[in-house]
């Protein structure tokens, strides 16, 4: 059952990759007028905004410079044994100034359903986000690129989150993000440094609702990521995301990833990661694999 779902997700990710590859000329970097450098659009986070996998960055999606537009579409899949998360989404950016993104998440929780005899086996969430580059340029200014983002999240299956003590089925995160690419900053390889402050009350990004019996107030939580570009196309790095702990019934741990990103052309980005989500809704040691595929336009 789980294997078949996993295979389906892999197949659908790669078939969408082949669709991208088939409809786009892979060798036409110079013919598309998207001028920012390779990999500087980042990948798509599970919440839709441009970044890594779990931590957003100040960069805007796609490769549009300040006189251009950009857009991306993505699909991501995470499997930690007791949980699977599927995400699809898209994003547009305008003049390297404003980014609008959309993500639809579906968390499948068969183990939880079996353990608690729940009537449902999945929770979906819809996220609409906006991000504005406030100042700086990722590469060319001494100051980092700094962006402010807003993510409005709507939990579409609030039955289980409500039962474990979450207060609301929707919430809004605010992100203040700084990102800098230091040319030759690590062994003469380009070094990517990123930090985000998130103002949030979302439980497990909102998949387990917002606020809770233990704490119902929003708080500011730090998230950091760093990576090294081995060459133009390969980025390796790690992310850390601190999480709230709003529910007395279920503990929430911080999230970590180590990832490899591959940017063969400005059209395609592939990210694979090993993720450690800690304890998620009574199930300990949720570690596993993350795969994300992004096409840029």
């Amino acid at each position: 059952m789980k294997i078949s779902r996993y295979c389906f997700a892999i197949v659908s990710l790669f078939s969408s990759g082949f669709v991208f590859a088939a409809t786009l000329d892979l060798d036409s970097d110079s013919t598309i007028s998207r001028s920012r450098l390779l990999a500087t659009g980042g990948a798509s986070t599970i919440e839709g905004a441009a970044g890594g996998g779990i931590v957003p960055m100040a960069v805007l999606s796609g490769y549009g410079a300040q006189e251009e537009q950009g857009a991306v579409a993505f699909g991501s899949y995470v499997d930690t044994g007791d949980y699977q998360l599927e995400v699809v989404g898209a994003s547009v950016s305008w003049r390297n100034r404003v980014e609008l993104s959309f993500a639809q998440q579906k968390l499948t929780h068969d183990s939880l359903t079996a353990a608690l005899s729940l009537p449902t086996d999945s929770i979906s969430q819809r996220i609409i986000s906006a991000k504005v580059r406030v100042l700086g340029d990722l590469i060319y200014t001494p100051v980092p690129q700094i962006s402010i983002g807003v993510q409005h999240k709507k939990n579409l299956d609030f039955l289980v989150p409500g039962a474990v003590g979450a207060k609301k089925d929707s919430g809004t995160d605010i992100n203040l993000t700084a990102t800098k690419l230091i040319l030759g900053g690590f062994f003469n390889r380009n070094l990517l440094l990123n930090a985000n402050l998130r103002y949030t009350n979302a439980n497990q990004t909102g998949l387990v609702g917002f606020g809770g019996d233990k704490n119902d107030d929003k708080e500011v939580l730090p998230e950091v990521s760093a990576g090294v570009l081995l060459n133009r196309q390969w980025l390796v790095g790690a992310e850390y995301r601190q999480k709230p702990n709003n529910l007395s019934f279920i503990k929430e741990d911080d999230w970590q990833t180590v990832f490899v990103g591959w940017f063969p052309t400005k059209r395609i980005a592939v990210v694979a990661a090993y993720v450690d989500l800690g304890e998620v809704a009574t199930f300990k040691d949720q570690t596993g694999w993350y795969l994300s595929l992004q096409g840029s336009f």
């Binding site: 110079s30 001028s35 006189e67 390297n96 060319y140 030759g184 180590v258």
Partner: protein, 144 residues
Amino acid sequence: MMNAIVKLMIGIFVCGFLISCANKQNQPSLYDELGQYEGIDNIVRELIFIIAKDERIKVRYKGVNMQHFKKGLSDYICQVADGPCQYANENMKQVHAGHNYTNTEFNAIVDNLILAMEQRGIPVATQNKLLAKLAPAYKDVVYQ
């Protein structure tokens, strides 16, 4: 598992910085790594071929004396790479003043320069060192 990986990565980072600092003395200069003036000149020639086909920026070179541009850019790169050249022109701000070069055009040139260096077989580390020396010019070139 994860903590071990994170600690290992931090360790690698710290060691990397220490080693790269300690090694600075014995390394060849960036100018040598680029193949001295001839190597730089070849990169710039390659760059000009790429610019000539680039719809985003080729209009900017209409009526420009390309021999003059080639020598000027080669001299400039030679100088920022600590080579034995004196860039004869005024500073970057004066050269670019009044043209209102855009962020898009600057990105396009950098994109093309990387492509030119790739085609000349310049190693990634050398590419990055040169880009790090050229990037601060952004403030003197764009929207001036």
